[in-house]
């Protein structure tokens, strides 16, 4: 318990100090996007802790973004309030979506979330009068505290990472205690969990709503940070990438959200920065190919995600393990 707390505190210190090590606006933007992706991915990992997979996460991200952007832009409400409202409303939407879909068997649930994502994206493109259509929505107000703008990358950095850490802590807590055990039991066997009195459908719903709220919160922050939104960052493709972040990080570990989002984003940036240096005349096509190959390699070497992979590696490197000796009764 206390060690975990200490770890979080250390992480918080590291995050707080990072802008002093790497202070360019561009790097801060990269970190900010990692922060936003971390929150979205944490939602997926929460969902994954009960064994569910969603291909609609970007749609909830988008609902948060569009909801908050529209309320603040067209009604003039404070972005802080609209982020909260959009998050709550998106959670409500998730509830309504969950009522029929959570009863579906595994693959059909994935299909349903995929369908939901496509429906939301179609609405973003199609409701031109409200959403600005495919051309997007401009002039979204930025965030301010007591008249001071948080538009600057560094100010936003502290905001988004503060929230990301809080999200991490909450997710960590949800997956420990009674709720976490129930979720992992559902992951192991819905039948076995139900036989012990775990209200399977209620837990699945709670965690689905929470994951949507995570995404929507990040979406609201995104809208007031970039201050321009269009349907494409909330497409099926984006949902897929959030899922990749979650799986690469490791669906069974909350820290996978942070490390998956960070690794995938950084990988993307490093390939972008390094490939042209090695092959000066090539363009994005090589980057896509290399990215794909690296993704395959990561998954082959860390099939349970990089967090689990790093832990296993650590265990191997330690000469005398603290775990009780195995094999006594095997």
């Amino acid at each position: 318990m206390t060690r975990r707390g200490a770890g979080l505190a250390l992480l918080a210190c590291g995050i707080a100090g990072l802008p002093f090590l790497a202070s360019s606006a561009y790097l801060l933007t990269v970190f900010n996007i990692i922060g936003l992706s971390t929150i979205v991915t944490l939602g997926l990992i929460l969902l994954g802790s009960s064994g569910q997979v969603s291909l609609g996460q970007a749609a909830f991200y988008g609902l948060g973004a569009y909801g908050s952007a529209l309320l603040s832009r067209d009604l003039g409400w404070s972005p802080w309030a609209t982020i909260a409202i959009a998050t709550a409303a998106t959670a409500g939407v998730a509830y309504l979506v969950g009522v029929p879909t959570l009863r579906l068997a595994e693959h059909f649930f994935v299909l349903a979330t995929l369908g939901f994502g496509i429906i939301v994206n179609v609405l973003m493109v199609q409701l031109v009068d409200v959403t600005g259509g495919a051309s997007g929505l401009r002039d979204i107000p930025g965030l301010r505290i007591a008249g001071v703008s948080l538009a600057a990358d560094r100010a936003f950095y502290y905001l988004v990472w503060g929230l990301a850490l809080a999200a991490l802590l909450l997710a960590q807590n949800i997956t420990s205690h009674r709720t976490g055990r129930a979720l992992r039991a559902i992951l192991g066997s819905e039948v076995g969990a139900a036989a012990l009195g775990v209200e399977v459908s209620r837990y699945k719903m709670q965690v689905f709503v929470a994951s949507a709220a995570y995404a929507a919160l990040a979406g609201g922050l995104y809208a007031h940070y970039i201050r321009f939104i269009s349907p494409s960052p909330f497409s099926l493709y984006a949902s897929l990438f959030f899922l990749i972040m979650a799986v690469v990080g490791g669906l069974t570990n909350i820290w996978g959200g942070l490390f998956g989002a960070a690794l995938i984003t950084i990988l993307d940036q490093v390939i972008r920065a390094q490939v042209p240096r090695v092959f000066p005349r090539v363009g994005g096509e090589y980057q896509t190919a290399i990215y794909g190959i690296l993704l395959v390699l990561i998954m082959i070497f860390f099939p349970s995600g990089i967090v689990r992979g790093a832990l296993d590696l650590g265990r191997l490197l330690r000469p005398v393990g603290p775990e009780p000796a195995k094999g006594g009764s095997a």
């Binding site: 990269v30 051309s135 997007g136 970039i226 494409s232 896509t288 832990l311």
Partner: protein, 389 residues
Amino acid sequence: MTARPLSRRLIILAAAAAGTAGLLAPAPPAGGQGAPIKIGTVFAVTGPASSLGKPEKDTATMLQSQLQSAGGIGGRPVQIISYDSETDPTKAVLLIKKAVTEDNAVAVVGGTTSPESQAMADYAMAAEVPFMSVAASTTLSVPTRAWVFQTPQRNATAAAKALEYLVAIHAKTFAFLYRNDDFGQDGLVALRTYGLHQGVALVDAEPFAATDTDLSVQVARARVKNPDAMVVWSTPPTASIAAKNIRQLGIRAPILESHGIANRAFIQLAGPAAEGVVFPAGKLLVAGRLPAGDPQKALLEKYASDFEAANRYAASTFGGHAYDGITMLADALRHVGPDKARIREYLEHVRGFIGTGGTFNMSPQDHNGLGTRDMVLVVIKNGAWDLWK
């Protein structure tokens, strides 16, 4: 039991952070008096708009070597930095930021699609850096924004040119089949509005998705309204599928397409259905058939042959938009040097600049500087492009 690996996690995190900082840091600029002037470019080399972004990026690469062999600008080398936005506005913003803050680019060319350009334009305004958009959305330069310029003929301009054809063939009604994205939606608004003014009525509008594989349903719905002309606003392959489906369903009305079909692929995919299709375009496609006195003729022929020599595929108008943006910037650098505010000032007063897209006449009220006179109507005849008379 989860406590122990914590230290390891933190080590990994620290390593990752340090690694990021190290790997993402820009290469040290070539020092000394010959420090390069940098122009940033951000094109959608991959993703849905790659057929536009790829020639744009290849044009930038070609211009880089041309500028290099010309000895740079004002004795200083010029470096054109290329980034791929993957047709994603968020990445486009990230990359324009990178170009400006990491690479110290004095100006940025790019934004293949309108959403990318819009997102980049907002950043350019905030960071006060000249931005040459290569997207065609009308709203990019109407109303004018101080730091945002646009090199393609606006969608509204193309639509106005297209309408000249409908008026010339005395069409009273037309059906509009469009790809349901910013390109198609922009065209719909422009053609409907202009048509209203010129007595050509829109009788049916049918959207479709970029990934659609067959459009005969949309065509069949349009056929019910019996329009005088069929207008299609998209790029291949859907633009070709639409033309094929129109002919397959036995519709004989003339087909008018958009400037989005200005590449060979349209003709190949549409086959016989391409015959007689008319579309508005920059003069690049018909450079060889322009009268000798046309001011753009020499430039267009040079660009096309240079591009084909460098890239083994035919030049397109999209690459031309990048060409115009970069050469106009080079021109500005030659006259005022690498100063953002002075570049902006210079660009705003460009007059008579001959580019692939037309003769640019900028002003504080018009950051595009092109009009319908810079476009031509092209007809596909015997599988080749020709000027429509």
